[in-house]
Symmetry: C2
Subunit: 462 residues, 2 copies
């Protein structure tokens, strides 16, 4: 049997799958500062209307424009690989498949939505996009997409990453982006922070505020903001992952997987793989679907479901989600992409419904899994991806104990070649395991009490 299940470009799905259309209980609406639902036109200064339409769409299938597919073909369709060497190592009867999203030029799944967002903005007459980035995966993906589509790109990179990860910054510059450390002196939000805390390492929350400010205050009206996860349209663009994987599993002679796994920071790579399978679960299929997060940032496993802001500066609409509170200060774990205080509302509502079974892991366990992966499958995974690998290993061992021939599918969301310092710390025995103390959880989530309450609604079917 072939170890890789390849697709042709002509096999790539022509439509994205919109999970909102099948969600058993609809999403709670985003709320404005006055507590009333936000109407689409209120988002117009931030996002182009064509993406806002996708954000609120209830259509199950949304056509992927040919021009977007033509750009994605630079690396898509992504291979589905059977992890035969890991299986042998674990002596598991499980068949482990992984969708390899590391082949994109920036090295992760992020370009799937970066390209789509840049294309829709360009269609809408936008000339320039602003965004924020933490570890740099998202910033480099948007830089890449803007370069290929001829848009300007401005990235506010969290200062500590800007200084510690010069290579990510160079990568963005190779693709022509203007990348500055955040907080910067270019925005009111940045200047205000710098006045109070000149030596601040920065945060994703501050960087988001700066990026949004630059987008909405451009007098020409041709700048918009772009977000790499959390929002419905971002997750929509990532469903190409799961749709391809579904076809590939069929080609491999498999029925539906028994277990579907992805790491989840804002939720986009997880949802991209999982939602097309979650649709089958809604239709009656039995399946365990596991989003994995760090124990240091336990949004899905320990935080309340509540209305909260997306950024620290409280400039975004309120979203109903599991949240550690917008003031949450994540510990310095190496999986920079998994340190967000909230989680995509679509993922959260699916958790509320009982469709997903979130799980958290300590970072040492994840690096151990990553080393096992490197020693068997060969590749070095991103620190974020190592969470999915760790869960897959656990599930494969469980299958061995149960003596069951399960099919396990995971999203290999990116490679770790730009993030090797975490491996270095782990190999030197210097990596610390953080687990959020209860008192911190209570402190950060206390502020949620002053915000509108998010109603828990579920059908009780799962």
């Amino acid at each position: 049997m072939e170890q890789k299940i390849l697709l042709k470009e002509s096999d790539v799905p022509r439509q994205w799958y919109n999970f909102a259309a099948d969600l058993p209980t609809p999403l709670l609406p985003p709320l404005g500062p006055d507590g009333n639902p936000v109407s689409p036109d209120m988002l117009a200064p931030v996002f182009p209307m064509n993406l806002i339409e996708q954000e609120v769409s209830q259509e199950r299938w949304i056509d992927i424009p040919d021009e977007i597919l033509n750009i994605l073909y630079r690396w898509r369709p992504a291979p589905l690989k059977r992890a035969v060497y890991l299986e042998q190592h674990l002596k598991t009867p499980a068949r482990i498949y992984y969708k390899d999203e590391s082949y994109s030029p920036p090295g992760s799944h992020k370009p799937n939505t970066a390209v789509a967002q840049a294309w829709y903005n360009k269609q809408f007459g936008i000339k320039r996009l602003t965004t924020e980035t933490g570890a740099g995966q998202w910033g480099s993906a948007l830089a890449f997409a803007c370069k290929l589509l001829g848009l300007e790109c401005k990235v506010f990179m969290v200062r500590i990453s800007f200084e510690q990860k010069p290579f990510r910054k160079i990568m963005m510059q190779v693709w022509g982006a203007n990348c500055v450390a955040s907080p910067s002196s270019e925005t009111n939000a940045g200047r205000k922070v710098l006045e109070q805390m000149p030596d601040t390492p920065g945060s994703l929350g501050i960087a988001i505020s700066e990026a949004i400010e630059q987008a909405v205050t451009d007098p020409s009206g041709t700048t918009r903001y772009s977000l790499g996860s959390v929002l419905n349209h971002v997750l929509l663009h990532q469903t190409i992952i799961g749709l391809e994987a579904k076809k590939q599993l069929e080609y491999a002679g498999e029925k539906l997987p028994d277990v579907v796994i992805g790491c989840a920071g804002g939720g986009s790579n997880f949802a991209g793989l999982a939602f097309p399978f979650a649709a089958e679960k809604i239709n009656g299929a039995e399946m365990t679907i596991i989003p994995v997060e760090p124990a240091a940032c336990p949004t899905m496993t320990r935080a309340p479901f509540a209305y909260d802001f997306g950024d620290t500066a409280c400039t975004t609409p309120l979203l109903a989600m599991y949240t550690l509170g917008h003031a949450f200060v994540p510990p310095p774990i190496h999986a920079g992409g998994l340190r967000y205080h909230g989680m995509a509302p679509l993922v959260c509502q699916a958790i509320v419904e009982g469709l997903l079974e979130p799980r958290s892991y300590h970072q040492n366990k994840c690096y151990e899994a990553a080393l096992t992966w490197a020693a068997t499958e060969g590749a070095i995974c991103a620190p974020e991806t190592s969470h999915a690998v760790a869960a897959a290993i656990d599930e494969a061992q469980k299958a061995r104990e149960e003596g069951k021939e399960k099919v396990i599918l995971l999203n290999y969301s990116g490679h770790g070649l730009m993030d090797l310092s975490g491996y270095d710390a782990f190999l030197a025995g210097k990596l610390t395991d953080y687990e959020l103390p209860d008192e911190d959880l209570q402190k950060f989530t206390k502020e949620l009490e002053n915000l509108p309450k998010a109603e828990i609604r579920k059908t009780g079917k799962w």
Copy 2:
């Protein structure tokens, strides 16, 4: 038309192609310190006999063991891609294809031979391999191969790279290799240099001497040395690249390419792509085959064809090749893999025969080409690979001027994600163009006069 021509694992060639069998004039023999040809058994302390047999083989086709294929399947077959976006940008009638060798876990073509060498060593009962590495591509490839096959791996990394490229070192450590800065205090060769020059930045020549010394002095006899380029068996293992590409061009409906291009440091990635096509040229096909080197290290374009040592310390046999002299000190260009003083004897004899048309480029031109590539094809190439890209762009422009629908094939030997500092220097306008001065060429090659002469033998057919 599909932009990527994919193969199945079952399409991967089952035999390597040995160019030595078809070379119109045979290679001059390697010579020992006494000026007499080296017999295979004299190499036995350094290499296992099964690889020495490959080194001297005249068989045209050599079977690839299934177990090696099974390891290569982790990333092979490598896609052949049509560079449609670059073609559009250049407005060329040429069709540009590139063989993408950047998909291997270490990120280059190097694992094709690292896996084969580690496997043959293991078959021969060897437990541990030693090697040297400059920029780190080869060291990480051998670390990777040894990890998958359960061998120990010791890498002597040129000190300046060891200090400037900590991520390559971490990569090797993730794959379990022991990587030390060279010169080290672990060998006589290293200690001797350190006594005389405690602050030396090190060199590939010194690192080779250290690696060979550790291999031949292991009292258990279970350590051997492994080289990442230059030698016949290394080039042999790389021919899988060209054999795959040939099949892929057929699948794309193309006849033979008009132009074949690869960058050449020691010659292995170039030969891997080019030799299966050079065989067709020997059989009468018209084709321009271009190995590309840096103007700073102009081995093929300006150096004499002569017998010379492979290392600075003069411990290897003498090889007949184009050489800048074993004492050559390369300038600090960013394409670390193209700074070797010599060149694979098989490539050199093909040049002597007139089968190849070597060319040299300045590094600024190469980085400019790399940025054009990133802006069109999307990916960030290795500094070495940028030489092939620059030549392909020149050839595509020439095709436009001539109004010819040429087929251009290049080897995309690796990605540049671990080598971004050269891009940084280029973008900042701080990159210097080095061209070897005539007086330096004369100085370094003067020592060759004291060595046996290499006879220029050619059929005169090309």
